[in-house]
């Protein structure tokens, strides 16, 4: 693409479409205010954002709201996207930070068990029981603890990967994960002692 832009002849339609077919080209065009290019970026990453938001929220309206806010924030901050990491990593970080802020704001507002899709088709017997138990334990956890445990055990990210994707230090992730696990342990032991 660089070769294309450095040629002496003016860019042709083919050059322009090649530019827009690459993610870098879409980002550049969107940064210049091209909403169609931005829509293409949204379509390319919307499943990933829904998947991530769906890790923390069960209702479609919540997931949709987080996803929309993610892309709106991306649009507003496009000028700060330097391109030294993939766009996917950048959008993931925006989405995670929004989920985290939102979960902190909702502190104390427990998610009801009704919010969880407990009996998904195909689930039988023990699996349904495990899903109910997981949902119940998650609902008892502090939202910040839930957030981190879902990334480490749900997304199966290492401490390094979580730190990189969240933009936190490794030490911060380790400390928070340690606290979250301690609180999970306390909940499990409390319930066992009853």
């Amino acid at each position: 693409m660089y070769v294309t832009t450095l040629t002496m002849s003016p860019p042709t339609t083919a050059d322009a479409s090649r530019e827009l077919s690459s993610e870098e080209g879409l980002v550049t065009a969107a940064r210049d205010g091209d909403s169609r290019a931005f829509a293409a970026l949204v379509r390319a990453h919307q499943r990933r954002v829904f998947h991530l938001a769906g890790r923390f929220y069960r209702r479609r309206e919540d997931v949709e709201e987080v996803a929309q806010d993610t892309f709106l924030q991306a649009w507003n901050k496009l000028a700060s996207f330097r391109g030294d990491a993939p766009f996917e990593a950048w959008i993931t970080r925006i989405c995670l930070n929004l989920c985290y802020q939102r979960m902190r704001r909702r502190h104390g507002r427990e998610e009801s068990l009704d919010d969880f899709d407990l009996a998904a088709p195909g689930d039988l017997g023990r699996r349904v029981e495990a899903r109910v138990e997981t949902a119940r334990l998650l609902a008892r956890l502090d939202p910040r603890d839930r957030f981190l445990l879902q990334l480490l055990h749900g997304e199966e990210w290492s401490v390094e990967e979580a730190a990189r994707r969240l933009g936190w230090s490794k030490a911060n992730v380790k400390v928070r994960a340690h606290r979250a696990r301690k609180r999970l342990r306390r909940i499990l032991e409390e319930e066992d002692s009853r």
């Binding site: 829509a39 949204v42 919307q46 829904f50 479609r60 996803a67 649009w75 055990h153 342990r185």
Partner: protein, 127 residues
Amino acid sequence: MTCDDVRDRLLARPADRTDPEIASHLGDCTPCAAFVQRLTAFTEALPDHRAGIEPDPGFSARVVARLPDDATLLGWAAFRLLPLAATLALLLSWLAWTAPPLPGSPLGGDSGEALLAHLLAGQGDVP
């Protein structure tokens, strides 16, 4: 290895339950075995614990419809710049108030007397 050690280690690394030392402890300690069973069920269920909601075909259009237009951006910028403009106006007023008068001005020096002399001499109105 104590119950505390076993639980701490398994909370950080659930896969360590197959470690011979831990497995031996779990074989002898019923409360730890029950604890680990619940912990394992929880961590193993987490990867599947998501809403599984997919974006519908109109999602990108709804996002684009919410993008701020130029007028909104201008309004937003004006709103954000309002405190700066107010501070600047206050600073300029303060500077104008405290700055010494220009040389030659009837307000210069002992300003009250100079101004009175200027007016009494009929040299015009208050500058």
